[in-house]
Symmetry: C2
Subunit: 147 residues, 2 copies
Amino acid sequence: MNTLETVQLSNAHIDHVGIVVHDLDDALATYCGTLGFRLLERLDAPDHGVEIAFLDAGSSTIELLSPTDEESGTARFLARRGEGSHHVCLAVPDLAHTLEELRAQGVRLIDETPRQGIHGLVAFVHPQAAHGVMIELLQKDRARRLE
Amino acid sequence: MNTLETVQLSNAHIDHVGIVVHDLDDALATYCGTLGFRLLERLDAPDHGVEIAFLDAGSSTIELLSPTDEESGTARFLARRGEGSHHVCLAVPDLAHTLEELRAQGVRLIDETPRQGIHGLVAFVHPQAAHGVMIELLQKDRARRLE
């Protein structure tokens, strides 16, 4: 029996918004050069089929992601929808517990269990469960939380 | 001559993400009932042709918006793209100055000058200027900033 209080996403906060783009260099020229955002981190994530950049946006960040694998879900999203908002990432303290709570509510999940992401454990909620928004849930690595 | 340092959006932070939905009651049942978000504020904004709810998401909020005027831009967006992410709102300290900086960079704006929004002065940047993302810029009312 689950003895933790059921809270689902009531304590979640926006960690970042994910924006899918065709070309990361081009998008960085716009976001950092023209719009003035500060680049925090750029990395290649071949396991996820994307290259990524994180930009400073106060207590949250903006993640620009560009597919490097044309078979990836991100590439298919980009082909279908074009450039723009891809997901909203919510940080939660205990991802396994949150997933358990969401499952109990009948929420449709893309990932039934946490998997390793760039900055911690992640799982995606299906857009059909959130009125068209793909929600990423993130339990940040301890080192990241203490930054 | 502009004597302020040119920073564009380097000091901006994510105030909220805007999500467009067909029916606000239905979306609130999902977001608050099923997903567990806490409702902060619900209001009708006939001047903007929408009804709106703000949900707690840590240091940012989630804005659910539903068109009440079928001729509004929000209604056309919903008809064209379906439910989902609509805009990302960035708070800036001095909106008029930020718009001046963005214009100097050749950034395509929807609003050339600040106009009154729900929580302060607002202006929208055209999605073509930000790789498909509609960016709302917000200079919060002083009372809101001190909350």
